[in-house]
């Protein structure tokens, strides 16, 4: 894992991954305390994919995400306070309280509208790629979506269009079905696909396709960087399937902190990993995995890890304070923003 990814980048990734992890843990707490309604989806366990992939993008690029968007939004640099405020339906939220957890969006960072309709993200992203291609400015669009999106026909249509028109789109499929209970077993719906190798689908459409270990930050970064370069040079779309084993907490229906509040001492060797989630702590938790590797740098690295974590915790605690202190939107503003009012350019 070490090879390939520059040290600064690895530390940068860890910082973002920790921020996401603490954010998500806080979301569970806020939900438990009854601060918001509606179901929600967490990015815990997939930080190792979204963070390096998004880090590989440039400022001019576009992105599209799904119901499982928190990690993507934060990885791109959105304000966690505005993120939590949105989840709590506050006026200061990213969407002014109109979107909620499923639709967090930060247009100024290049995000297209965040669709909670499965298949929405991937097909809108092809539109993003179309815009990039029309502008001829070397920009690209990255779609970050789940494996379930490939059950929707529109995803297939969108892949076909992207391939036909050589659009600069990186299709990043986060396959988190391994370990998921699935509908049939009473869990959350997950992959119901006859395909035993999802890459055969983009391949059938002539799309360059690759599979990576989604817990391996360096591997994801390398794959994303290569895909982005390919897209920028006009060679058409790339499909990446990142395997991200399902976090135990995302089952059953409502997320729960099945693996506890992440304890970074498990990465530095200061704490044990025994218990029912040993496998998770040792192999699949991408935050622990990256931290463990960086910790190999010695005491200074271990200190740096805790410092990063402390900073992340602090930032998220402040974010939560901000969100909780923020006002709810004024009821009558519900009528605003149905239509944009700008005079046409």
């Amino acid at each position: 894992m070490t090879e390939g990814l520059a040290d600064t980048l690895r530390w940068q990734c860890l910082e973002k991954m920790l921020l996401i992890r603490r954010f998500e843990e806080t979301v569970v707490k806020l939900a438990g305390d009854g601060h918001f309604r509606g179901h929600y989806h967490l990015y815990i366990g997939q930080e190792g994919t979204g963070v390096p992939a998004i880090t590989a993008l440039a400022a001019k690029d576009h992105l599209a995400t799904t119901h499982r968007n928190h990690g993507h939004i934060l990885a791109r640099g959105a304000d966690p306070g505005a993120g939590l405020a949105e989840i709590l339906g506050r006026a200061t939220g990213l969407n002014g309280g109109r979107g909620g957890t499923i639709h967090l969006c930060e247009p100024t960072l290049g995000f297209l509208s965040t669709s909670g309709v499965v298949g929405g993200c991937i097909s809108l992203a092809v539109g993003g790629g179309y815009a990039c291609a029309q502008r001829r400015d070397g920009s690209v669009t990255m779609a970050l979506f789940g494996d379930g999106a490939l059950e929707e026909g529109v995803s297939f249509e969108a892949l076909n269009i992207a391939s036909l028109w050589h659009l600069p789109v990186i299709f990043l499929c986060e396959n988190n079905s391994a370990g998921a209970m699935g509908m049939a077993k009473g869990g959350y719906p997950t992959l119901v696909h006859a395909s035993t190798d999802l890459l055969l689908i983009p391949k059938s459409l002539g799309i360059s396709s690759v599979r990576v270990d989604g817990v391996d930050v360096a591997a994801v970064h390398a794959a994303a960087t290569q895909a982005i370069a390919r897209c920028r040079s006009g060679q058409g779309p790339v499909f990446i399937e990142a395997m991200t084993p399902r976090w135990a907490g995302s089952n059953p229906l409502w997320p729960e902190l099945a693996t506890g509040i992440t304890d970074l001492r498990m990465a530095t060797g200061e704490s044990g990993t025994d218990g029912p989630h040993k496998q998770w702590y040792e192999n699949f938790d991408p935050v622990l995995r990256l931290a463990r590797e960086l910790a190999k740098g010695g005491a200074e690295s271990v200190r740096r890890i805790s410092a990063l974590d402390e900073a992340a915790r602090k930032r998220i605690a402040d974010a939560a304070d901000f969100a909780l202190a923020s006002p709810l939107p004024a009821p009558e503003t519900a009528l605003n923003h149905v239509f944009a009012q700008e005079t046409p350019a």
């Binding site: 309604r37 506050r90 109109r98 979107g99 909620g100 379930g148 929707e152 026909g153 503003t333």
Partner: protein
């Protein structure tokens, strides 16, 4: 006679179970008919008792709907659950341009007796994409029967009728109805389509509503009653066929009409009922018809915003007071 009460969700599952039991052609395509809420485990006995006839399909609404329509054309009676109401948009062509037109287009030689079901409405934090009510739109698709039950007895009876109907049928359940308990007869039975139910008698104004809005209207009626205003609450129960007669009869007695619906205003259910009465019951009207609906805005996530745009008993009561003073 001791009154039994049952939740909407439990009665819905009873209807499916009885449908599966009494007709081997019935099967269910859809793994979460009651959504992901607390009632969802009620459907477990369907899978247990009819393991070969209850299917968890992929997230492929168009494909799932098409399978239901095609199977119906081939003689089966599938019940296709489309999930959250707006996911039916992905199956729009299958519902409106395949199922609804097949009987007509074959000169009556073939039929497509599929039942579609979905969870509609402003559910609380569902935001724009998960709070929709597609049945107003579908009322403009001739060939489809549409039921929008409001109580346990009605959802049981209307689903049984839908499963037995030779036509494609849509049954919509408001997400907020699932947990609501209402009285049910000892033996629940099928309810014929096209028969409105007067949920409350009153002389001063007619209020027409379906689905969850019936409950809000009854609450408003209760409140108004304390002011001496007696509202008649008419629940058409099915939009297609529509029991125009019961609505017009009521308006002929009260002279005033409020139509309540959670769909957006333009092209909504309230508009259709208002237009029908403006055309066929004009002479009964003593005041303008008033529509109480969601304004034409997408549904926002945050509670105060959501509440602001959603019809509720207060807004309904205010509208009734308004039609009583206006002339």
């Amino acid at each position: 006679m001791s009154e039994t009460r049952q939740s909407y969700a439990a009665a819905l599952v009873d209807a499916l179970h009885d449908g599966l039991r009494t007709d081997p052609r019935v099967s269910i395509i859809g793994g979460y008919v009651l959504g992901l809420g607390p009632q969802r485990t009620l459907t477990d006995r369907l899978k247990q008792d009819f393991p070969d006839r209850v299917f968890d399909p992929p997230t492929s609404e168009a494909g799932n709907a098409a399978v239901g329509v095609g199977a119906a054309m081939a003689g089966m009676r599938p019940f296709v659950d489309l999930g959250t109401g707006s996911f039916s948009y992905l199956a729009w062509s299958q519902i409106t341009n395949e199922a609804a037109v097949a009987h007509y287009m074959t000169n009556g030689r073939l039929s497509a007796p599929v039942t579609f079901h979905l969870l509609h409405g402003v559910r609380g934090g569902g935001a724009a994409q998960h709070s929709q009510s597609p049945h107003a739109m579908l009322w403009n698709a001739p060939g489809l029967e549409i039921a929008a039950p409001s109580t346990a007895a009605d959802v049981y009876g209307l689903i049984r009728t839908a499963l037995a109907s030779p036509n494609p049928t849509l049954v919509v359940s408001h997400a907020k109805l699932l947990g609501i308990e209402t009285a049910v007869p000892e033996r629940k039975s099928p309810i014929p389509f096209g028969r409105a139910d007067i949920k409350r008698r009153g002389r001063d104004a007619t209020v027409v509503a379906t689905s969850l809005m019936v409950h809000y209207c009854l609450a408003a009626a209760e409140a108004l009653s304390k002011e001496g205003i007696e509202v008649e609450v008419v629940d058409p129960r099915t939009l297609v066929p529509l029991d125009e007669k019961t609505i017009l009869d009521s308006v002929s007695r009260t002279g005033r009409l409020v139509v309540v619906d959670e769909c957006p205003l333009r092209g909504g259910i309230a508009s259709e009922i208002a237009a029908t009465v403006a055309e066929r019951g004009f002479r009964y009207l003593k005041a303008p018809i008033v529509r109480v609906t969601r304004p034409d805005v997408p549904v926002p996530y945050s509670l105060p915003l959501e509440n602001f745009i959603t019809p509720d008993p207060e807004k309904i009561a205010a509208a009734v007071r308004c039609v009583l003073t206006a002339t």
